[in-house]
């Protein structure tokens, strides 16, 4: 299993560009087992939403 640091960096990257199949797969497999990274994923999407609303 990849480290949470690696996976959250990928998630962050995924907010700015389309990830490759293997990257998306790595995230999918990781979040099945890691609730913290799952939370990071939805919370980073929320932060984006907040930043858009802020303006």
């Amino acid at each position: 299993m990849r480290s949470c640091r690696y996976i959250t960096a990928l998630m962050s990257k995924g907010l700015d560009k389309k990830l490759s199949f293997s990257e998306r797969l790595a995230i999918g497999l990781h979040v099945m087992m890691c609730s913290r990274c799952r939370k990071f994923q939805s919370q980073s999407q929320f932060i984006r939403k907040a930043a858009h609303r802020y303006t």
Binding site: C4, T8, A9, K17, C37, F40, Q43, I47, A51, H52
Partner: protein, 100 residues
């Protein structure tokens, strides 16, 4: 994060959508955003507030592609953590402080 894994890490945020409707939340959001280091704040704002593409942000700020990804990731990690401590789960901060 230490060792590549969460140290404490994200907790459940209760109804984030509701926060968007509260003035107090926006005051805290603004403080968090303004507390980012200047260069990081600039990159984050050009991407998320101005809406530039990643390549455009790199061109505008003169940072490399690799530096862009690292900067955005750090900005998101910090904002996430600060919003959690200051808004969504303030009791967590107190607890961690006590154990520190």
């Amino acid at each position: 994060m230490s060792n590549g894994h969460w140290n404490g890490g994200p907790t459940t945020w209760n109804d984030p959508e509701a926060a968007l409707k509260q003035q107090e939340f926006w005051a805290i959001y603004e403080t968090c955003q303004n507390n980012l280091p200047p260069k990081m704040a600039k990159v984050f704002m050009l991407r998320e507030l101005v809406g530039l593409e990643a390549e455009e942000v790199c061109r505008e700020t003169g940072i490399s592609d690799a530096n862009y990804w690292v900067t955005m990731h750090r900005a998101r990690l910090r904002l996430r953590e600060w919003l959690e401590i200051r808004w969504f789960n303030p009791s967590k901060a107190k607890k961690e402080h006590r154990h520190a």
